[in-house]
C-alpha cells in the first residue's frame, strides 16, 4: 500500500457484540472523538457505550411537520377560498372539517419526508466511496463481523497506541486503512452534465407557469378523440348523404312530429277571437275526477306559493317573508286566489295567467299540459265557491266593527298583495305609520298622507305619485270601492299604526 496517499485510520475486527461493546467503552474512555463502530445491525446499548449524543432529528421532524400542517391548510385556503372560490350549493368555501383530512396527510407527508431525508443528510449519505471499503475484511461489516475504526484525524490518534488499545480490547485483526490516491469526487464532466440536466428540468414547470391562466384561439389538442370530435349530425350542417348537401331535412309530407299536436284555439290559449272565453272549452268535461286531478296539480304546482288553500301563504312565501322581515330579500307576495276579485275573472283570463304568468309569477305552459291547466281552474273555482260560502253575510259584516270590516277588505281587495303592515317594504310602501306621515311626490311637493290622500289614491292611483314610485304600478282590480269601504279600510290601517 505504498502508493497510497494518507492514513485514514485503523480498523479492528470483532466477532461478537459483547467484546465490541466493551471495546467501545474503552475507546470512549480513552478520550477518542473521531471514531466509529461498524455493525451489520444496530447493537442496542452501543450508543451509550460510544457516548453518542441523542440525535436532534425529532425536532427537525416536528418543525417540518408543523410546516406541513400550515402548508396543507394554506394550500386549501388559498386555492379553494381565495384564488378559485368554489361555490358548491352555497356551502362555505372554507370549512375546516372538510379540510382536515388533507391537512393531516400533508402533515404526515412533510414529516415523513423530513425524517427520511434529514436522516440521510445528517449521515452524510449517499457517499458511494469510503476509504474503509478498500479493506477486504471490512466487507463483512454488513454480514457478521463488527468493526471499530479510529480515524487518523483525531487529535489523540497515534498509530501504535491506537493499535494497542484495540488489540487490548480484544480485537481479532487490526488493519491500517489508507485514503485512495485518486481524488474520490465525481468527474467534473459528469458533474457539469448533471447541472445542465437539472437546469433543463426546470423548463417544463416554467412553461406550465407561463401558460397558467392564458387563453388561446387555437382548438384543443386531442391526444385521444374526445366527445367533441365524435360523428354526429348538426342542425344547419353539411352532409354528403343528401343531394342538396343539407343536413336539415324538410318534414316528410303527410306526417306530424311527436311534439306537433292539433291546436284548438280556446283549449290552448283560453281565447276565442281575441276575447277571453267565459266558459270551459268544449273538449273539457268537468267531472269529479277532473276536479280531483285539478286539486292534485294545484297542490303540486300552485300550492308552494299560493298555499294549498289558495290563500297565498305557501311555504315559499313563508320562507321569503322570513327573509324579507330580516331585510335579506325583496318579495312580491303571491295573491290570495280565493277572493272575489279573482273569482270574478273569466276562465280564459285565469288560463292566460297560469299559462303566461302574472306579476312575478312565471308562466306554467311548459310544465302543465293545457288540460291540466283547465283542471286547475276547475279546482280553483271550487276553492272560490267555498270562500263565498264561508263569507260573512252583509248583516254579519254590518255587525262587525269598522276596523274588522277593514281587515277583511284589506285581504279581499288584495291590498295585502303589495302593502305590508309591519314596516317591510314589498311592492308598495308599508302602510303602518303611513297615515298622516309626510311624503314627497314626484312633483317635488311634500304633502301629508291624510285620509283624503288615501281615498284619492285608492280611487285613482295615478293622481299623485310618490317620488321614485312607478306610475301605474298600483292598480285596483274589480269594482271601485265605496266610501264606506274606504273608511273601513282607513279604520283598520289606523289600528296598525
Amino acid at each position: 500500500m505504498t502508493a497510497d496517499k494518507e492514513l485514514y485510520g485503523v480498523v479492528a475486527e470483532f466477532t461478537d457484540v459483547t467484546t465490541l461493546y466493551r471495546a467501545a467503552e474503552k475507546v470512549r474512555d480513552a478520550g477518542y472523538k473521531k471514531w466509529d463502530c461498524h455493525t451489520p445491525f444496530p447493537v442496542h446499548g452501543l450508543d451509550d457505550a460510544m457516548g453518542i449524543r441523542f440525535t436532534r432529528l425529532p425536532w427537525v421532524v416536528l418543525i417540518m411537520g408543523i410546516t406541513g400542517l400550515l402548508s396543507g391548510m394554506y394550500l386549501q385556503y388559498w386555492t379553494n377560498a381565495v384564488d378559485y372560490a368554489f361555490d358548491i350549493s352555497g356551502k362555505p368555501v372554507w370549512s375546516l372539517p372538510a379540510n382536515i383530512p388533507v391537512i393531516f396527510e400533508v402533515t404526515v407527508l412533510f414529516s415523513a419526508f423530513t425524517a427520511f431525508f434529514a436522516m440521510w443528510i445528517a449521515n452524510r449519505l449517499p457517499r458511494w466511496y469510503h476509504p474503509l471499503f478498500r479493506s477486504d475484511r471490512f466487507a463483512r461489516a454488513t454480514d457478521d463481523r463488527f468493526f471499530i475504526a479510529l480515524h487518523a484525524k483525531d487529535k489523540k490518534f497515534d498509530l501504535a497506541a491506537a493499535t494497542a488499545l484495540l488489540k487490548g480490547a480484544g480485537a481479532g485483526e487490526v488493519e491500517e486503512v489508507y485514503e485512495a490516491n485518486e481524488p474520490s469526487g465525481m468527474p467534473s464532466v459528469i458533474k457539469g452534465n448533471l447541472w445542465v440536466v437539472a437546469c433543463l428540468m426546470l423548463i417544463p414547470p416554467a412553461m406550465v407557469y407561463a401558460s397558467y391562466g392564458s387563453t388561446t384561439t387555437q382548438p384543443r389538442v386531442h391526444l385521444i378523440p374526445d366527445m367533441d370530435k365524435q360523428d354526429r349530425f348538426r342542425a344547419q350542417g353539411e352532409t354528403e348523404l343528401f343531394e342538396d348537401g343539407r343536413m336539415t331535412r324538410d318534414q316528410v309530407a303527410g306526417t306530424i312530429g311527436q311534439d306537433q299536436r292539433f291546436i284548438h284555439a280556446s283549449l290552448e290559449t283560453g281565447k276565442e277571437n281575441g276575447e277571453f272565453v267565459t266558459s270551459f272549452p268544449t273538449q273539457i268535461e268537468v267531472t269529479e275526477a277532473f276536479i280531483d286531478r285539478g286539486q292534485e296539480r294545484f297542490e303540486i304546482y300552485c300550492g308552494i306559493c299560493h298555499g294549498e288553500d289558495g290563500k297565498g301563504s305557501g311555504v315559499i312565501h313563508e320562507r321569503a317573508m322570513e327573509l324579507a322581515n330580516l331585510g335579506q330579500a325583496t318579495w312580491v307576495p303571491p295573491t290570495n286566489v280565493t277572493v272575489s276579485l279573482i273569482a270574478n275573472q273569466t276562465d280564459g283570463m285565469l288560463f292566460e295567467t297560469i299559462s303566461e304568468g302574472r306579476r312575478t309569477m312565471p308562466g306554467y305552459a311548459a310544465q302543465i299540459p293545457a288540460e291540466d291547466r283547465w283542471a286547475i281552474i276547475a279546482y280553483l273555482r271550487v276553492l272560490q265557491e267555498v270562500e263565498v260560502m264561508n263569507a260573512l253575510s252583509p248583516e254579519e259584516m254590518a255587525a262587525l266593527g269598522a276596523a274588522s270590516r277593514g281587515e277583511i277588505l284589506f285581504t279581499q281587495k288584495i291590498c295585502v298583495g303589495c302593502h305590508s303592515l309591519n314596516g317591510v317594504a314589498l311592492v308598495g310602501p308599508p302602510l303602518n305609520g303611513f297615515l298622516d306621515s309626510e311624503i314627497k311626490l314626484d312633483t317635488g311637493e311634500t304633502i301629508v298622507a291624510d285620509a283624503d290622500y288615501f281615498k284619492e289614491s285608492i280611487l285613482d292611483p295615478a293622481a299623485k305619485i310618490r317620488e321614485g314610485a312607478l306610475k301605474g304600478l298600483m292598480v285596483l282590480a274589480g269594482d271601485p270601492l265605496t266610501d264606506e269601504e274606504i273608511s273601513d279600510l282607513l279604520e283598520y290601517i289606523k289600528t296598525q299604526n
Partner: protein, 461 residues
Amino acid sequence: MASSTSVDQLDIFPEELVQGENDFHSVTEMVCGVLEAPKPPKSWYIIFTTAVALLGVLGAMIVYLITTGVGVWGNNQPVAWGWPIVNFVFWVGIGHAGTLISAVLFLFRQDWRTGINRFSEAMTIFAVICAGMFPAIHVGRIWVIWWVFPIPNQMSMWPNFRSPLLWDVFAVSTYFSVSLLFWYMGLVPDLATVRDRAKTQAKKFWYGLFSLGWNGSNRHWHRYERAYLILAALATPLVLSVHSVVSFDFATSQLPGWHTTILPPYFVAGAIFSGFAMVLTLSIPARKMFGLEELITLRHIDNMCKVIMATGMMVGYAYSMEFFMAWYSGNAYEGFAFVNRAFGPYWWGYWIMISCNVLSPQIFWWKKARRNLPLVFIMSIFVNIGMWFERFVIVVTSLNRDFLPSSWHYFSPTWVDVLTLMGSFGLFFTLFMLFCRYLPQIAISEVKNVMPQAHPHLDDH
C-alpha cells in the same frame, strides 16, 4: 387440564424467531442465496410467466377501455361505482398490512414482525399500485387525471378540496410515498450486504448505487433507528387515516348502507384483516419455494392467524352494529338497505362475505389449525374472497336499489370487468415475483437484531 401448569405450557415465551442452527452469517446466506442463485426455482418461472401473461391482459383491457370508453364495463346508473371501485378498495385494503406490520407491530415491540415485514411492505407497495390504477382508469379520460392534483394549469382552476374523492388522492399518494420511503429505508442496509457479496460488476454497481454507500456506522445506525421509529410513529396514524379516508368516500354521502359513522374504524380493521390474509397467501408458498422456513417460522404464521381472527371479529362487530342501528334508527331507507343486503338480489354476496370473514376465521381458535399450513393457506384465500365480496356488497347492494324504484337495476360485470380484475393480479404478482428474485425478501439486519446473540451480555445490566 394439567393439575400443575409449567411455564412451557403457558406458551408465553414463544419459540425462537430464527429456527435451526443459525448464526449471523447463515442468515445472510439464506436470504442472499435467493437472489444470488444463478436460477430461481422452477415454480418461480411458472408463476412469473402466468403473471406476465395476465399483465398483458391487463394492458390490453386498459387500452381497450381508454380507446372505447367506460361503457365497456358493467357500470351503469344507478350502479356507477361498479367493479373498479370494488377492486380499488380491495387492493388498498391489502396494502395496509405491510405498513401495519412494519409500523404498528414495531411500536408494539412485536419482534416477530422482522421475518415478514420486508415481504409485506413490498406487498403494500405493489397492492397500492394496483389500487391506484383503478380510480385512474375509472375516470374515463385518463389523460386528464392530473386534474386531481393541485397543479397550476391553463384553466386557472384548482381541485375541490372539500370532496372526499380528493382526500383519497392525497391519502393514497401520501401512503404510497411514505410506504415507499419506509420500505427503501429498511432495504438500504440489506442492499449494502448484497453489494458487499456481489461478484459481478453490474451487481456491484446497481446494488452499490441503491445502498447509498452504507457502511454500518453506528453513528448512522443511531439516526437511522430514530428516523425509523419516527416513520413508524407517523405511519401508524397514516395507516388509520388512509382507509378511513377511503371509507369517507362512502360514509360522507347520504346513501343508506354507506352513511354510517362506524365506517372508518370498520374499514381499517377490514384492511388489516385482508392485508394479513394476503401476507399469509404469499408467505406460505414463498417460504417453501425459497427455503426460508427457518426465518418465517410457524410462530409467524400462528401470530398472523391470531391477528386475522382478532380483526375478523372487529369486522363482525361492525357488521352487527350496522345491522342493529339500521333497525334502531327507525330510518326506513336504512332498514331497507340492510334487509336488501342480506335477503335482496345480492344475498349470495352478503352470505359469502359473512361466511368468509366472520365464520371461517373462527377455526383459528385452535392452535392446531393455526399451524396447519394447507388449512391456513386455504383460509387466507377465503378471507381474500370474503373481503373482496365485502366491498362488492357495500358498493353494489347499496347502489343498485336507488331511491326511485323505477331506477332499480341489477348490476352484472362484463368480461372486461373480470379480465381487468384478473389482470390486476397479474400486475401484482409480476412485481412481487421480481421483488422475490432481485431484492432481499427478509430484512436481514432486523432479523439479526432479534437473534439472541445480537445483544451484548453485560453482567452489570
